[in-house]
C-alpha cells in the first residue's frame, strides 16, 4: 500500500514551546485517517506543516510521495484542504469565490471550471444557492462551501480540519456519507478532529496527539478489538460471581464482566446455574477509552503497546 502522508521526526518549536514534538505520521492510500487530539495538542500546527503553511523546525514531511514544502507546487493541486474554519470573500457569491480560488493556482483548467463548480456545489448540497453573497450564508452553508472548495479539483487526498463544524445533525450525516462515498472511489481522507464519535464512525486508522507527541497510531479495528471478556447484563450480578467464581473481572449494579471470549459458553454456564441473563456482549473498548488511556499516561510509556512505528 502506498504512503500518502509520511512525516519523520516532525518538530515545530515556538521559542521554548514544542508545539509538535517529533511525530512520525503514516497515512496510506485509501485510509480514512482520524487525527485526534485535545485543543492545543498540536493538530492544527501539524496540518499546516503538511500543507506548507508553517515551516517545520526539524524533521521531514512527505505528501503524495514528494517532499513538502519544496514540492508544494506539484503536490498541493492534488490535495483538497479545509483548514480550521472555512474562509471566503463575503461580498462575492459562492460560485465567484470558487472560481477565483480555482484560478489562483495551477491544476484548475479554465475550460472545465464551470462544470466542476456546478458538480461540487451539487455534491455539498448548495446547487440552488444562486448569486447570494457569501456574507448572507449561514454557518453551515459556509462550511459546505469550504468543503466544495476542497473538492473542486477531485483531489487524491483530502485534509479536513473539523469538517462538520457548524452543521446540524442532518448536515453532519450528509457530509459523512459524502466523505465515505469519496473514500470508496479512492480518495484518501485525513480527518483532524476532537470529536471522537465522528472519528469512530468514519475512520479506518487513528492517530492520537497528546501535547505535541503522537502517542498512538493504529488501525481502528485493532484498537477497539474484543478484549477477551464478555459483558453480562443481569439483575443480580452477585449470583454471577457465585456461578463463575474466579472468572469475574468486574461487577456493577446490573452487569458483570467475565473472562471468556465466547458469549455462548458464558451464557450456557450461567443458565445452567440458574442466573437470569438479560443481555450478553463481547467487551470492546470504545475509542474514547482508548484515547483517554493513551493520552493520560506519560507519552513514552504508552508508545510500547499498540503503536506500530
Amino acid at each position: 500500500m502506498t504512503t500518502v502522508i509520511a512525516t519523520r521526526g516532525l518538530q515545530k518549536r515556538y521559542g521554548q514551546v514544542r508545539a509538535v514534538d517529533g511525530i512520525d505520521l503514516d497515512v496510506r492510500a485509501g485510509d480514512v485517517y482520524g487525527f485526534l487530539g485535545a485543543n492545543g495538542s498540536g493538530k492544527t500546527t501539524t496540518v499546516r506543516m503538511l500543507l506548507g503553511l508553517v515551516l517545520p523546525t526539524a524533521g521531514e514531511v512527505e505528501v503524495l510521495g514528494q517532499r513538502m514544502p519544496r514540492a508544494g507546487r506539484k503536490v498541493l493541486p492534488r490535495v483538497g484542504a479545509l483548514i480550521e474554519s472555512p474562509a471566503h470573500y463575503g461580498h462575492l457569491s459562492g460560485r465567484a469565490n470558487l472560481a477565483l480560488l480555482d484560478a489562483a493556482g495551477p491544476g484548475g483548467a479554465r475550460r472545465t471550471r464551470r462544470t466542476r463548480i456546478e458538480t461540487v456545489l451539487e455534491q455539498v448540497g448548495l446547487a440552488g444557492v444562486g448569486r447570494r453573497p457569501v456574507k448572507a450564508y449561514s454557518l453551515g452553508m459556509r462550511q459546505r462551501l469550504g468543503l466544495a472548495a476542497a473538492l473542486l479539483r477531485r483531489p487524491e487526498l483530502l485534509v479536513l480540519d473539523e469538517p462538520t463544524n457548524g452543521l446540524d445533525p442532518q448536515g453532519i450525516h450528509e457530509v459523512r456519507d459524502l466523505l465515505l462515498e469519496l473514500n470508496r472511489t479512492g480518495t484518501t481522507v485525513f480527518l483532524s478532529s476532537h470529536l471522537l464519535a465522528e472519528v469512530e464512525q468514519l475512520a479506518t486508522r487513528v492517530g492520537v496527539l497528546d501535547r505535541g507527541r503522537l502517542v498512538l497510531q493504529d488501525e481502528l479495528a485493532r484498537l477497539t478489538a474484543p478484549t477477551g471478556a464478555t459483558v453480562v447484563e443481569t439483575p443480580d450480578p452477585q449470583r454471577v460471581r457465585a456461578a463463575l467464581d474466579g472468572r469475574v473481572l468486574a461487577l456493577g449494579e446490573t452487569r458483570a464482566v467475565v473472562r471468556g471470549s465466547d458469549p455462548a459458553e458464558v451464557n450456557a454456564a450461567l443458565v445452567a446455574a440458574g442466573v437470569p441473563v438479560t443481555g450478553l456482549a463481547l467487551q470492546r473498548p470504545s475509542l474514547e477509552e482508548v484515547v483517554l488511556a493513551a493520552a493520560s499516561t506519560s507519552a513514552d510509556r504508552v508508545e510500547a503497546p499498540g503503536a506500530r512505528r
Binding site: R48, V54, P77, A81, Y89, L101, A104, G105, P106
Partner: protein
Amino acid sequence: MIAVELRKLFRRPRTWVTIALLNALPVLVGVLISLTDLAPRPGEGPAFLSAVLTNGTLYPLAALAIVLPLFLPIAVALIAGDAVAGEAQAGTLRYLLARPAGRTRLLVAKLVSVFAFVFVTVIVVAAVGYLVGRLFFDVQPIGGTSLGGTTLTSAQIVQRTLLAIGYVSVSMLGVAAFALFFSTLTDSPLVAMLGALGVLVASSLLFTLDAASSIAPYLPTRYWLAFVDLFREPILWRDVVRGLGLQAVYVVVLLGAAWANFTTKDVTS
C-alpha cells in the same frame, strides 16, 4: 494570478468607494471657488489653485495638489495595507497558499494590483479634476497661460500634466511599498495602514525641522511636491529626478524586505 488579484480588487465595492471619497474634496473645493470666485492668492493654499480661475485646464493639477498631502496617501495605504494582512485576517490567505498560489507569485500579484490601484486612482482624480475645470471655470483654448511668471501653451500644459500624473503616481508607489511591507508583518490591515501613515507623518514632521536637515533629502515625502517644477520654463528636472530615484530606492528595498519576510514566515492566521 495577477488577473485574479486585479479582479478581486476592482470587483470590491470598497475600492470604488475609496476612490469616490477621494474625489469629493477637490470637487467641493472647485464648487466653492467657482461660486465665490475666491481663489487663494498665489503662493498660498494648494499649488495651482490660485491659477484655476484664469484657466480651468489647470484644475487636474490643483486636484492632485489638494489630495496629495493626506487623502491620496491614506487611500493608497488603506488598499496596500490590506493586500496581505486583509487576506490573513479574513482567513483566505491560508486557502490561497494551500491552493497553492505560491508565496512569491501571490506577493507579485498583490504588488501589481496595488500599483494598478495607485495609477487608476491618480488618473481618476485628474480626470474628475479635468471635468470640474471644464464645468466650473473658464478654459482658455489657445494662447499662453501664465503660471508664477512662466507662460505655457496649452499643448505644453497637456504634456506636462501627463508628466505630473506619472510623477505623483510614482511618489505614491513609495507609500504603497511601505504599506505592503507592513502588511506582510502583521495580520491586521489596520496596523499595516497606520504603520505606513505613521512613517509619512514622521517624514513630513522631520522635513520641517531644521535639526533634521541632514536626513531631509532621504525622507520619503521630501520630493512629493516637485511636480510643480514640471511647470517652470524650462523644466527644473533636479528635484523631479531625485524624487524618482528616492522612490525607486524605497520601493526596491521595501519590496525586497516584504518578499524576504513573506516567503519565510509561518502562516498561522
